[in-house]
């Protein structure tokens, strides 16, 4: 791939990216969330078309108009969300869409040809079972087999380990190495450093849609990789990389902006009661994965505690469990010293728990309801909106009027669904509702994701105001800049565990990056 650029709605996802794949190599593609890894892979696999730049296969410029074109040229991709047909068997899924499939075939010969493909590649799944009954790891194997059966020479795996158990990861790595040894090129997308060093031959690092490095893996240690991935202060010039790698291991560069808006009152251990305390919390998510393991944290009045981590490391489940949306399997949750581990959502609201969920449009609001109704969503069961079994539309409207004025929520009109609001106004509405309940603790999960600069500023101002008013804020974010600028303390979550905690004044991007990527705390 040469000089590939792609933007969505004016936002550049890839800018002039080069990617060279050689037969027989495992090529890791490393980068933060939003660095453009998935976009680049999707262009390679024919799902998106680049705005500029070219894709060359065996030196020949190719213009893929669909994933079918890419497959015909020998490029196949396993997406993060598998594309298997549920209700079909493994064999049926493997053979589906194969150009040499006869019009009619018995299920036995289908299973036999599936089994022969499996034997050829040494990857096995029971061909007769239904894909819905398989584990995620097995489903992934079916996806890979499906592509191998189409004769791919370039296999793109988009974050293949994100949903796998450690044992499944090992099996996948063995398979990857074997497939590469047979002369295929494997693109391995990840943001977990140890996986990159464990499996890849070369690594390309993307940051903000541009390539910042492409080196053989053994020339880079995890610390350098982490820095390449997250540190914007390090120029993209390849020349600085070697030097940075040398000094990085002894003397981590201090981040200038680290202290941000934080006040230095963190030193002495506090004696007052935390507004939120979590002890040894274990949470299982909706799919019965253990998403949070033995997490303990405290949030005191008037401080902002940040939760850093790559998306999908248990942040949402931690927040949901504190707010009462997910049950805690073990451990304790205390609001203002009162135990609420088994309490209902409403009980927690009464105890002063405000929550701005990550999923704004389906959880934070009921999109089909009006602004007035949504502003009452978390308090309609009590006065003044509730009147016995009824709701007072007038009280709802009055409250909405007040909050629209106070929080400057624009674009809503009475009687129209709230989904017509822009992202920034929608988030302001959610914050307005949560803040006007006079909470003791405010949990804000990715409150600025996808917002424009002005809206982000507004959210930050509100969070600072709340902190100033003595509210304890738990700010979950993937944006290190945001965390460094707003928080007093930062906790790092990795695979559901708290792997590090530090005062923001003592935090720097490199150390956070390492912790977020699963490298043991070197400090």
């Amino acid at each position: 791939m040469r000089g590939v650029s792609k933007s969505f709605f004016g936002v550049a996802a890839n800018q002039g990216v080069d990617l060279v794949l050689q037969a027989g190599e495992v090529h890791a593609l490393l980068g933060e969330n939003g660095a453009g890894k998935s976009t680049l892979c999707s262009i390679l696999a024919g799902l998106y078309r680049q705005d500029s730049g070219e894709v060359l296969i065996d030196g020949q410029p190719s213009r893929f108009r669909s994933p079918q074109d890419a497959l015909a040229a020998g490029v196949g991709m396993v997406y993060q969300h598998y594309r298997l047909v549920s209700g079909f068997t493994v064999a049926e899924n493997m053979m589906l869409g194969h150009p040499e499939m006869p019009f009619s075939i018995s299920s036995r010969s289908l299973r036999e040809s599936a089994r022969s493909v499996m034997d050829r590649f040494g990857i096995h799944v029971d061909p007769g079972s239904y894909v819905d009954d398989l584990s995620v790891g097995e489903q992934q194997r079916v996806e890979i087999l499906k592509l191998l059966n189409r004769g791919v020479r370039v296999l793109v795996l988009d974050e293949p380990t994100a949903v796998l158990s450690p044992g499944e990861v090992d099996a996948l790595f063995t398979a990857i190495r074997q497939l590469a040894a047979e002369g295929r090129a494997i693109v391995f997308v990840s943001h977990k450093l140890y996986e990159v060093t464990a499996v890849s031959d070369r690594v390309t690092v993307l940051r903000d849609g541009a390539r910042v490095a492409c080196r053989p893996t053994k020339e880079l240690d995890q610390r350098t990789l982490a820095r390449l991935m997250v540190d914007r202060d390090l120029g993209s010039a390849a020349a600085t990389i070697g030097a940075a790698a040398g000094e990085g291991s002894q003397e981590p560069a201090r981040n200038q902006r680290g202290a941000g808006g934080a006040s230095p009152r963190m030193e002495s251990p506090r004696t007052d009661i935390p507004v939120l305390e979590v002890r040894d919390l274990v949470v299982r998510d909706e799919r019965d994965h253990q998403a949070v393991t033995d997490a303990s944290l405290r949030v005191y009045p008037g401080e902002v505690v940040g939760v850093a981590g790559v998306a999908g490391n248990g942040q949402r489940q931690l927040a949901d469990a504190i707010a009462g949306l997910l049950p805690a399997e073990r451990g304790e949750i205390l609001l203002r010293g009162n135990e609420v581990t088994r309490a209902s959502v409403r009980e927690r609201v009464k105890q002063g728990c405000a929550y701005v969920p990550e999923d704004r449009l389906e959880t934070g609001v009921a999109p089909g309801l009006t602004l007035e109704e949504n502003l009452a969503l978390r308090s309609y069961w009590q006065s003044p909106v509730a009147r016995g079994p009824f709701v007072s539309l007038r009280a709802m409207a009055r409250r909405a009027e007040e909050e629209v004025a106070r929080f400057d929520i624009r674009g809503g009109r009475p009687g129209l669904p709230i989904r017509i609001l822009s992202g920034g106004n929608l988030q302001r509405a959610i914050l307005a509702r949560e803040i006007s309940a006079d909470p003791a603790v405010l949990i804000a999960a990715c409150p600025t994701r996808g917002l424009d600069v002005g809206a982000i500023d507004g959210v930050h101002r509100l969070l600072r105001e709340e902190r100033g008013a003595g509210v304890g804020v738990l700010l979950i974010s993937e944006d290190l800049e945001e965390l460094l600028a707003l928080t007093d303390r930062i906790i790092v979550l990795y695979e559901g565990r708290i792997v590090g905690e530090m005062p923001t004044a003592a935090a720097d991007r490199e150390r956070l990056g390492l912790l977020m990527a699963g490298v043991e705390d070197a400090a």
Partner: protein, 375 residues
């Protein structure tokens, strides 16, 4: 997880489809009332025009057919009371569908709930006998109908709420079970509901006239007023109660409902019970006033009040205010059928006519949901 972060920004809410011919179609946020009326009238008119062509092609004079249609559903007090008698259960079953559909619970079980409601109501009426005061019998049988329908709906409601079973399948199956049960009571057993005096042909035990609602005029009874009253109550409840607020939240976004502290499975159960109660009352009214005996034949004619109620609710766009006129219109269409056959229009044409009108009215709703513009 990170897919959300790396995926392109979601397409803007107001999607447009350009057809490449200078016309775009875009969703409306809300259709103005005048437009709603215009579209409804326009699509009925359109249906009549298309149907006229069809009638002419089949050798009938469209105008005279339409005339006799109007005559046979509204023309005489007798015809009009027939229409109202048909409209009464239809209003209730449409409300049953609309209440559940507003929460996106796609029940098609009103038919079964209607039948079980009829069983319960006739059971109470028969038990109380001819000597009990009319008011007691009426109230008791309506209440029994509501309870019976609610209990039957609760099976599917609990399944959907707590076990995540598919309500479309479960309610459909429960309809067949209810139908089989009613047949068993009359044809397959010497049950309490069966008339022991009729030895030659199995019949339901006649229900005494003290179970009948007071008359309104001609053959119509106050059932229609009752149904309209229930509709008004439902309208008010859907607007002003916390129960309905929660229903709207669950219907719009179940995850937001959990965030609002709503017990979603319990809500599903309670809405299904309300829906079942409405359908059950319809069954009670029909069994006590129209068939005057529990009898699978004739109790639930045609497609069945439950299924027709779904059509009415859809045509009224789940609006409670809309359901009343639409139900009366559909009842008129249904009651015009037999009369038309008497005037020599073949049954097949009558059915096609009815279907055509419903189809075009449904198609017209496109213009309420989308705006078509030249660009």
């Amino acid at each position: 997880m990170s897919a959300t972060a790396e995926a392109p920004p979601a397409a803007p809410e107001r999607r447009r489809w350009s057809r490449g011919n200078g016309i775009t179609v875009e969703p409306r946020v809300r259709a103005p009332l005048a437009l709603q009326a215009l579209v409804s009238a326009g699509s009925v008119l359109g249906a009549l025009l298309v149907a006229a062509a069809l009638l002419a092609a089949s050798g009938n004079a469209p105008l005279s057919v339409y005339e006799s249609m109007v005559d046979s559903s509204f023309g005489t007090p007798l015809a009009f009371s027939q229409t109202l008698i048909q409209a009464t259960p239809l209003i209730l079953t449409s409300l049953a569908a609309a209440v559940a559909y507003r929460m996106r619970i796609w029940t098609i079980g009103a038919d079964g709930q209607f039948l079980i409601g009829a069983v319960a109501a006739s059971g109470i009426a028969l038990k109380l006998g001819a000597d009990a005061p009319a008011l007691v019998v009426i109230v008791a049988s309506l209440a029994a109908g509501a309870l019976g329908g609610a209990a039957w709906a609760a099976i599917a409601g609990a399944g959907r709420g707590y076990l995540r079973t598919n309500e479309v399948i479960s309610t459909l199956m429960l309809n067949f079970i209810a139908l089989g049960f009613v047949s068993y009571l009359i044809f397959g057993s010497g049950s309490f509901w069966r008339d022991p005096t009729s030895a030659t042909q199995p019949l339901g035990k006649p229900i005494a006239t003290n179970a009948q609602l007071p008359g309104l005029f001609e053959f119509a009874d106050i059932g229609i007023l009752l149904a309209v009253g229930v509709a008004v109550l439902a309208w008010a409840a859907l607007r002003w109660t916390r129960w309905a607020f929660e229903l709207r939240v669950v219907g719009s976004a179940p995850r937001a409902a959990r965030y609002a502290g709503i017990d979603v499975p319990r809500k599903i159960l309670s809405v299904m019970c309300a829906s079942g109660a409405l359908a059950g009352v319809a069954g009670a009214i029909v069994v006590c006033n129209v068939t005057e005996a529990l009898d699978p034949r004739g109790l639930d004619p045609g497609l069945g009040y439950g299924y027709t109620g779904i059509v009415v609710a859809a045509l009224a766009r789940l609006s409670v205010v809309g359901i009343v006129p639409v139900a009366i219109l559909v009842a008129a269409l249904l009651s015009a059928g037999p009369a038309l056959e008497l005037t020599g229009v073949p049954n097949a044409v009558v059915v096609v006519l009815q279907g055509l009108i419903l189809l075009l009215v449904a198609a017209g709703q496109f213009f309420l949901v989308y705006r078509v513009r030249r660009v």
